[in-house]
Symmetry: C2
Subunit: 438 residues, 2 copies
């Protein structure tokens, strides 16, 4: 027999009770974004390829699964990143002149895993701010990224900041040939100073253009590296100096809002699918080599859809965030077992309990297992003439269940606060004096 | 310029404010399922093809988009139905002996639209009950299907009931050849009595086997058709008569629970991808030719995954349900516009309002549009030394905004109850005496 149940590498599924926890995080984040004014969009899973890849560069193309549309013969792609979809929606569908704040949460697929043992089906969550070119919108996005990490319980975060405009401006003024440009980009990503110096020594380039490029790989560290950069870039073009100043303003804003979050700067950081145009940022946690959330400015990506707009945003994989969240107390199912029956008052009671947010599981005639095996610590029983919720106590030695009458109080067979693993709500339970089958 | 923004036929996206409404429905349904004891699962978007299509028949194969796994060269499929995935998870991942209740909600993709102008990317929502063979679990599933329609505000529902065991049993005893079987199946789906009679007249078949098959196409209508069927099937095999009896018990259970929902019976109905094995059911609304929710019993589909189990379930497209829901009052954004600034008390007030469930949108320096253009009917202003929420009034003739001081009460510039279109909560607003720029 073939292994019909093996999932492809990097493709995962989420089972109970983790799926309920993920749903809870989903709601918490979408509520957070709503409270900041970010409107939810649900972009399509597949689009024509040219629409999906517009302005995003080659990296995303290689990561995108291709499909043939049987209706038209055209090539479609499965989304590998929802950011360009948000840009298309802002530019083509909404067409507002005011700033537009959008958020999204959904699965994206990638042909190759993201790093070592990485996922090919991240649950991408993110927020994008269109229509404002100032550093304030970058600052809002970084603050929202940090609020996202707070809401998911990810701790020990530090933020990396960079600005691709510095490298781009220096490169433009250096007028290097394409081959040298590619090699330099590669060497910078590796921070290989020897390679960079060798490349620039051979290049046809002025000293004024060469020195700042050569220095970039070393311009990283704490906020003091911005002062060092100011000296290195003192003769650079105005837009390069402006970029450095923008970075400083974002850093100052973050320090004012989130003084305890360590900032790290890296002026050689060129994150993203070649589509960033300004400040870039990423959040890291100890023990995880890759960023757990990242983003940056990508102005004008929507031009091909009819409206070039300033844009900045961040995204993350919710499953990665959940894996790095502080462990929450083990979820226990708070459920009530009800007998099967068409009895009117019983049905009414079941309905009332469910409407009140309780989980009521109906016994199926002849089913395997009873209240305890079905994860119920209470059950609905007829006491006198009334259907009443009573506790179930388990006699472990005999494996039988005995109800405990709780006088109509809905109480679980445990005296602690527990979190219902379905339904998402926190369900406080009163203390109970008797538990283990006495 | 090519039309970079055109979506493929049958592929859609959901924009604000509809996306927020869909999210609200999503939560309502998952909470409903949780209250019935159905645990959420999140099956993968893609799987190896043989895993995805096991036991589901040819129809689903044709509807499934195929992808090549670049890591292994194997063929993967994009899920076109989540039911078989739920069966795999029950059989292989959970492996419980007790009844298992699972629910799911997610996008599925199909190579061809579902009917005229149909979708190729339904948002499938459904629930499955594994491990119980009795009609009580079918009844629970039909009741949950109806509760789903109630929760989404779909009215005027009637339910179609059938049982593929009747046709299957009669066919087995008739011992027809494969070609006649296929033609008969086709004729029955069309209820083409003349074709059916002609086929059966030519077939090598006993009168006892022929007459019930010939009668099937006419056995549809109200509950009285079950009495007619009992006469037609009086000499049929015991499992056929049991199937009819099961149908009658499900009908009686539904009439007791939901007396106002009209029931319709059709013993020639053979819904599903050939994987149903027992009762089948569907919900219809006036003016929509296709079922808006459907399901049935599909025992033993999990056997290939290691555990054959009784199984019954239903599913629907949440976007179709939303389209048929009673129109809700137009959602208005209840938002507060706040000035940009690092001012500590301002930041604290913004944070407190958001934590209280309010939507606070920060002005971005130099942005296009003010409070009104950003959809805010209130704003945060410094009154004396305190940051206070005040109403915004719009002078339409001049297009300017004027704040109205509300003495610290959070009130919108309208005196009705409105539903926030983001965040999902209902936000009751106190009456306000002054509105239009006076």
């Amino acid at each position: 027999m073939t292994n019909h149940w093996l999932l492809p590498e990097g493709i995962d599924e989420v089972l109970p009770p983790q799926a309920a926890r993920l749903e809870q995080l989903r709601r918490r984040l979408l509520d957070l974004y709503a409270s900041w004014g970010y409107e939810l969009i649900m972009p399509p899973f597949i689009e024509y390829l040219e629409s999906l890849l517009t302005g995003t560069g080659n990296d995303l193309d290689l990561l995108t699964f291709k499909l043939t549309d049987q209706l038209t013969g055209r090539t479609m792609g499965v989304r590998a990143d929802m950011t360009p979809q948000a840009a298309r929606i802002d530019a083509h569908r909404l067409q507002r002149t005011t700033p537009v704040r959008l958020c999204y949460l959904g699965t994206v697929l990638r042909t190759r895993p993201d790093g070592f043992a990485g996922s090919r089906s991240p649950l991408q969550v993110g927020a994008e701010l269109f229509g404002h070119a100032g550093v304030e919108s970058d600052l809002e996005i970084v603050a929202l990224m940090l609020a996202t990490l707070d809401a998911t319980g990810v701790g020990g975060v530090h933020v990396d900041l960079g600005h691709v405009g510095i490298y781009r401006g220096l490169l433009r003024d250096a007028k290097l040939d394409a081959a040298t440009t590619d090699l330099l980009f590669d060497a910078l990503q590796r921070k290989a100073s020897a390679d960079i110096n060798a490349l620039l020594a051979q290049a046809d380039i002025t000293v004024n253009a060469r020195d700042p490029l050569a220095a970039l790989a070393d311009l990283n560290g704490g906020v003091e590296c911005l002062d060092a950069a100011a000296i290195v870039l003192r003769d650079a073009a105005p837009d390069v100096r402006q970029a450095l100043d923008d970075l400083r303003r974002i850093a100052a804003g973050l320090q004012a809002r989130r003084p305890r979050v360590p900032l790290h700067f890296d002026l050689a950081e060129l994150r993203g699918y070649h589509y960033h145009t300004g400040p870039v940022f990423a959040a890291f946690v100890p023990g995880h080599g890759q960023a757990i959330a990242q983003g940056g400015r990508y102005d004008d990506i929507g031009r091909v859809f009819g409206l070039g707009r300033p844009a900045t945003g961040f995204s993350a994989d919710l499953k990665t965030l959940m894996a790095h969240a502080a462990p929450e107390p083990l979820a226990a199912r708070a459920a009530i077992f009800a007998p099967w029956g068409a009895d009117g008052p019983l049905q009414a009671q079941v309905q009332a309990l469910r409407a009140a947010g309780e989980c009521v599981i109906c016994a199926l005639p002849g089913q395997a297992g009873g209240a305890h095996e079905m994860g119920c610590e209470r059950e609905l029983r007829k006491v006198g003439t009334e259907w009443t919720v009573v506790g179930v106590s388990v006699n472990k030695s005999y494996g039988i269940c005995r109800p405990i009458f709780l006088g109509g109080v809905f109480a679980p067979a445990g005296g602690w606060f527990r979190e219902a693993h379905i339904g998402g709500g926190v369900w406080p339970a009163p203390t109970l004096h008797d538990k283990q089958g006495r």
